[in-house]
């Protein structure tokens, strides 16, 4: 008897209850967790930047360009997990040549291309144009030619031209906000429209994804802003940080409410899947959902930010709280993605058993690939920031005229 059980354990380790034979192995791996995580950061960072542009929240001007550059760095990497997961990355262009309109996944290529070319790059170029023209005159050597090329021949920086740039870029931001919603709402849509999977199938999915995207994007910008300012030996702009933290707080409240709504709705509906889902939550997802997503990733940062806002704490302490909260939010959002993608495959469609996810280390879908993909955007961001310094430090006195003083690139760096 013991040997028989040992044998079963070796044939199907970790599974409990009854699962169908084709569910022993998970098909959507860690890379598919990374993909919505990265796109979420992009959409979130962009929406944050648009607050400055469209809604004229001038406190956050210091992170406006930085957000756009960050969004770009992460957007470049966002489709890579998909390409690695599908294999044959060299065939990717084919989906543009023969668009398959009945496949949401195939149409993503167009959403992505539009967002990259039509929104983000265009807005960045218009925004940087004046500086690029200036650098192309100031710099020497190869750098000079690089910036000259980047002007694309448009060297007119008369006040009238600049005014046009501003108008155009505001218009693009207005178009860009729905585009960013589309980009990430789409990712939620992909999951939400899988009818056969009770863990995914939910009309709320795109909206929940969107708000978690905004949360993760704002938290990311808090981190990027704090770290970059530290390395540039500059003083942090507390007004900006406070504003960012407020936005983070609001977005988290909405996000948390939506997810709670989704959860209560499921409990109330109590479809036949509810037993296995609660078993999955209490067994398989306990650490990643209850501990990492809810306690560490939502409640702890909420408390942290509220403490920093409400209590009379010195700036030093505030910064500390913001930083830790933003870090925890990243952990939380990553767990959210994990719980959606991996969780949706852990229970059997027989609703009678649970399987396990075995993460591989090496290989195209392994842990190292995932880590590489998470580090890549940071490296790209570093290079972008070196080439196109996005700093918009306010001259310490004149806050109102901040917009006039679009950051001069500091040669001292």
């Amino acid at each position: 008897m013991e040997t028989v059980i040992a044998n079963i354990a070796s044939a199907i380790p970790g599974t409990t209850g009854y699962i169908y034979p084709n569910e022993f192995e998970l098909h959507w791996s860690l890379l598919i967790v990374i993909y919505p995580y990265l796109t979420g950061l992009v959409a979130g960072a962009f929406i944050l930047a648009s607050l400055e542009r469209v809604f004229k929240v001038h406190e956050i001007t210091p992170v406006y360009r930085l957000s756009l550059v960050t969004a770009l760095a992460f957007l470049i990497v966002a489709p890579m997990p998909l390409l690695a997961h599908l294999g044959h990355p060299e065939r990717n262009y084919e989906m543009f040549l023969t668009p398959n309109t009945s496949s949401a996944m195939a149409m993503f290529g167009f959403v992505y291309a539009w967002y990259l070319l039509g929104v983000l790059l265009l807005e960045l170029w218009l925004d940087y144009r004046r500086d690029i023209v200036k650098w192309s005159n100031e710099k020497t050597g190869i750098a000079r030619y690089f910036y000259k090329f980047s002007t694309l021949g448009a060297t007119d920086i008369s006040p009238k031209a600049i005014e046009f740039d501003e108008k155009a870029s505001r218009f693009i931001t207005i178009v860009g906000v729905p585009s960013a919603f589309l980009l990430h709402g789409y990712v939620g849509f992909i999951f939400g429209s899988v009818k056969a999977n009770p863990w995914w199938s939910s009309v709320l999915m795109p909206i929940v994804f969107l708000f978690s995207a905004i949360v993760s994007g704002i938290a990311l910008m808090i981190l990027v802003y704090m770290i970059s300012t530290m390395f540039r030996w500059k003083k942090m702009d507390m007004a900006c940080l406070n504003k960012l933290a407020s936005f983070l707080l609001y977005a988290m409240l909405v996000d948390f409410t939506l997810e709670a709504l989704d959860f209560i709705h499921r409990l109330y509906e109590s479809e036949e899947s509810i037993t296995i889902l609660s078993e999955m939550i209490s067994n398989r997802l306990f650490i990643s959902l209850i501990v990492a997503q809810i306690i560490l990733g939502s409640l702890a940062p909420l408390v942290g930010i509220i403490m920093a806002k409400m209590g009379k704490v010195p700036d030093e302490m505030k910064r500390m709280l913001y930083f830790i909260s933003a870090l925890l939010v990243q952990v939380g959002i990553f767990s959210t993605r994990w719980n959606v993608v991996i969780g949706g495959q852990l229970f059997s469609k027989s609703l009678r058993g649970l399987t396990v996810y075995k993460l591989e280390l090496f290989g195209l879908e392994g842990l190292f690939m995932a880590i590489t993909l998470l580090i890549a955007p940071v490296i790209i961001l570093y290079i972008l920031v070196k080439l196109f310094p996005p700093w918009m430090d306010k001259p310490e006195l004149d806050v109102a005229a901040a917009k006039e003083a679009v950051a001069p690139a500091k040669e001292t760096e």
Binding site: M1, T3, V4, I5, N7, I8, A11, I12, G17, Y18, P21, N22, F24, Y93, F96, L97, T98, N100, L117, L122, L126, R129, L152, G153, A154, T155, D156, A161, F164, D165, T275, R352
Partner: protein, 246 residues
């Protein structure tokens, strides 16, 4: 004095270039027959059909190896084509002396089909390689062209591995298969000719689970008249892995 702002010019050029290159790429790269039959290249079907053959097919071998074909025809392996084991052998049928197919004498070839895998259909003979005469070549005991068991399989798990594994870790682990199924020795010898019986009436379960049944005290009891309503027991309980958290 320019009418359109200068910076729009490179942008317009670029948009035109992108759209232009997309159109050119579509005309140049999308194959002519794409979309004729569906969202794929229709010519592809013809190309695949024209590929060089490497398999001779299930019947050609009989022309020369009639003895083996005949043995195999009446064996358990009647449904397994020669080339499933010997590999593609079209070249061999054209020049028998020059190209000689492999004969897989190791254990791995057999385990490809007979190693335990939960996805295989119920009744398919499967073994646990680590326990079934490990290290010995299968050919010592089973002839590949007429595989026989040295003696009739002792246990139902020989062919119903998945069911028996499930049952083994369930509340019914102590209940023998034959408590519920009538399976004769003939079923174990030639399962497809002599079938085993499946329970048809709830009484099979009632033997143990009815209120007044003469069975061990630990077995949970139910009221056979009301429990489950008008459904038969196994509409709700999987008999090989009964659960109550339905």
């Amino acid at each position: 004095m320019q009418r359109i702002p200068q910076q729009l010019i490179p942008l317009i050029i670029m948009i035109v270039a992108i759209i232009g290159s997309l159109i050119t790429a579509r005309t140049l790269l999308v194959p002519d027959s794409f979309g004729d039959l569906g969202h794929y290249r229709a010519d592809n079907t013809g190309e695949v059909a024209a590929l060089e053959l490497s398999y001779a097919g299930a019947h050609v071998c009989a022309d020369c190896h009639d003895d083996i074909s005949e043995t195999k025809r009446d064996s358990h392996h009647s449904g397994v084509a020669c080339e499933s084991c010997h590999g593609p052998a079209l070249a061999h049928t054209e020049a028998p002396d020059e190209f000689i197919p492999d004969a897989p004498r190791g254990r791995d070839g057999c385990l490809l089909c007979h190693g335990y895998n939960p996805a295989r259909p119920s009744g398919f003979p499967q073994i646990l390689p680590g326990q079934h005469n490990p290290t010995k070549a299968c050919l010592i005991c089973h002839a590949p062209h007429d595989p026989q068991l040295p003696h009739t399989a002792e246990d139902c798990s020989a062919c119903h591995r998945e069911i028996s594994n499930r049952k083994q870790v369930s509340h019914h682990s102590s209940v023998a298969c034959t408590e519920c199924h009538k399976a004769t020795d003939e079923h174990r010898a030639s399962p497809r000719i002599v079938r085993a019986e499946k329970p048809r009436k709830a009484e099979v379960c009632g033997n143990c689970h009815a209120r007044g049944a003469d069975s061990s005290r630990e077995i949970p009891r139910i009221d056979m008249d009301t429990h489950g309503g008008r459904y038969i027991c196994w509409d709700c309980h999987y008999p090989h892995f009964p659960e109550t958290n339905l």
